[in-house]
């Protein structure tokens, strides 16, 4: 009988399996809630403590994968947590002060460089004081990357961002699929609060500085390969990126074809060469670009659930792209998984699997939402595991 890892790898490689793998999207804060933890406090954990959160959640629900996030830096360890004015603060232990200064991924959001204010929202707000990149010349772009973005794989490992891997890999590496899911370079550039350009300026830059934008995008994806190398050496099986902000419901699909498609092709090809399976979560309305995504060497595609203004039906997606790539399901995380009944969840899993007709992984369209009854996640996983291809 195939184990979870074999099931996932075979399915992603478009091979038939005994049953349909079940890999719910458990990337977000739900894991803390499910374990009775307070994410506002417990997300401070260092890599080793973090791996225990993942392991305990895995043991509770037994999905077919570990869906890991970027991890936490070493300097979170032993830092004092202070609660004042309704917000949590992390006071960096003095012994890590120099390490903290070297971290170009997150920067401190307090003037004295010792406190991190309002964690975990800090993760999103920490970079808001960084300057925006100047796209007028390659030299300026390179200076910005050197100062604010570049971390080598070795530095990423030394910083502690892979410290949640060893325990998980040692215990489950042969049996369970281990994927790390990080925001794409586009997200790093376009995030409205923290992005290197911000959302509005980012979109306008396609018009105003097309050459600079093309160069910067290409370099940011190159830089992100260092993260893939770090996770490959830590024992990940797959590297997932979330693509957002330039989906066809927001930006003209021509932007993707002109600026991004060739970058994705090189990027996913390179990731495969590290021994990692490249998976991409395309947020937003993917319909106009589905065939383009399939030409990028990505091995599996994740989609969000249908939203206002666009419908993402797995059966119709399959009809459009055939069996060129593996697809993840997109059960509605709010109105079905959080609020649906046993029958509703089961019926939708079956409906999606029948629509996908092989090369399909049962999943939900966005992270499991806080407030979701644990029994509903159980229904998703247990019902899914009982399904076999006809």
């Amino acid at each position: 009988m195939e184990n979870s890892k074999e099931l996932m790898v075979k399915t992603i490689n478009l091979k038939k399996t005994e049953r349909i793998p079940v890999a719910p999207h458990w990337w977000g804060i739900y894991k803390y809630e499910a374990l009775g933890l307070d994410y506002k406090k417990d997300a401070w954990k260092d890599g080793q403590q973090l791996s225990e959160v993942y392991i305990n959640f895995y043991e509770k629900f037994k999905p077919d994968w570990f869906h890991l996030h970027i991890g936490t830096p070493k300097y979170f360890k032993d830092s004092e947590i202070i609660f004042k004015d309704g917000k949590y603060y992390l006071k960096i232990d003095k012994k890590f002060k120099s390490l903290k200064k070297e971290d170009r991924y997150f920067s401190s959001n307090s003037p004295n460089d010792e406190e991190i204010i309002d964690f975990p929202d800090y993760l999103l707000s920490s970079r808001k004081d960084k300057p925006k990149v100047n796209l007028s010349s390659k030299n300026k772009i390179e200076e910005f990357i050197k100062k604010y973005i570049h971390l080598s794989a070795q530095e990423i490992i030394e910083m502690g961002y892979t410290d949640h891997f060893p325990q998980i890999v040692n215990k489950y590496g042969n049996d369970v699929f281990i994927a790390v899911h990080i925001p794409s370079a586009i997200c790093e550039i376009f995030d409205p609060t923290t992005g290197y350009l911000g959302f509005e300026q980012g979109l306008m830059s396609f018009h105003d500085y097309p050459e600079g934008m093309q160069y910067f995008l290409s370099r940011c994806y190159e830089e992100q390969l260092e993260w893939a190398k770090a996770y490959a050496s830590a024992g990940a099986h797959s590297f997932i990126i979330s693509e957002s902000y330039i989906s066809p419901d927001l930006a003209n699909p021509q932007f993707y074809k002109q600026f991004m498609k060739h970058i994705h092709l090189d990027y996913f090809t390179e990731i495969s060469s590290y021994g990692l399976i490249p998976i991409c979560m395309f947020w937003g309305d993917v319909n106009p670009l589905l065939n383009d995504y399939c030409q990028t060497n990505v091995k599996a595609i994740m989609f969000e659930e249908s939203k206002k203004g666009f419908n993402l039906d797995i059966g119709k997606i399959r009809e459009q792209i055939g069996h060129k790539v593996c697809v993840f399901g997109n059960l509605d995380s709010i109105y079905l998984l959080r609020e649906g009944s046993y029958e509703e969840i089961k019926n939708e899993i079956i409906r999606q699997a029948e629509g996908a007709r092989y090369n399909f992984i049962i999943s939900n369209g966005s992270p499991v939402t806080p407030g979701t009854p644990q029994q509903n996640l159980d229904i998703l996983i247990k019902t899914g595991k009982e399904l076999k291809w006809k």
Partner: protein, 216 residues
């Protein structure tokens, strides 16, 4: 360039989103004696309305919308200054306080709605993201707002729209301000449940809703 050509080009350049040219045309319009109020009502607003329609039909995308909104604002500032100099005030369609609720840092949808409302002629105060009920209410009082518009992108933050409505009731302000809500997970059912006056499915409909609420 004739007066008719200036008017036509104002309209066309808002449509194409040319910031610099629209600004130049607005200055030229003033020097040629074109009535600024007529320029706004007959050329800028129809142009931005068409942009909104095209955005709704996905003929235009967000960058096009942003460029057009910026082009329009560049001309609008010039015309409004001129109107102000003459001692007349441009009639506002209503005062709106808008923001993304506490705990939620998503602002794209909210910003699109704010841009379209502003372009349409509403006086918009955008409080940004992560806005708590005190900030909403203080601004409603300070600006004497007619409408409160709240956005939430996350299922965990959308109940806060109801918290703000309850706070408005507690302070005796609920009858003085109309409340509209929106955001990806927000539905009409949610709007009814929390006692909002209106819900819109998208940015274009949000503008129509605001006009409808003002007419009540």
């Amino acid at each position: 360039m004739s007066i008719d050509e200036i008017k036509k080009e104002l309209y066309n350049n808002v449509l194409s989103g040319d910031f610099e040219l629209t600004k130049e045309l607005a200055e030229k319009a003033i020097s040629e004696g074109i009535d600024p109020l007529e320029a706004i009502n007959s050329y800028l607003i129809p142009a931005i309305e068409l942009v909104g329609e095209k955005f709704g039909k996905r003929e235009y995308f967000l960058p096009d919308l942003m460029r057009s909104a910026n082009a329009m604002k560049s001309a609008l500032n010039i015309f409004e200054n001129e109107i102000h100099k003459s001692g007349v005030e441009r009639k506002s369609l209503g005062k709106i306080v808008i923001g993304t609720v506490k705990g939620d840092i998503h602002e794209i949808g909210k910003s699109i709605v704010a841009a379209l409302l502003s372009a349409k002629g509403f006086d918009v105060t955008d409080l940004g993201i992560d806005v708590d009920s005190d900030a909403f209410i203080n601004n409603i009082i300070e600006k004497n707002a007619n409408i409160l518009a709240m956005s939430a992108l996350l299922p965990i933050t959308m109940p806060y729209q109801g918290v703000v409505i309850e706070e408005l009731k507690k302070r005796g302000l609920r009858e003085k301000v109309r409340v509209m809500v929106g955001g990806a997970p927000v539905t009409q059912e949610h709007a009814d449940k929390i006692g909002a006056d209106g819900y819109a499915d998208n940015a274009v409909d949000a503008v129509k809703l605001a006009e409808k609420l003002m007419a009540k």
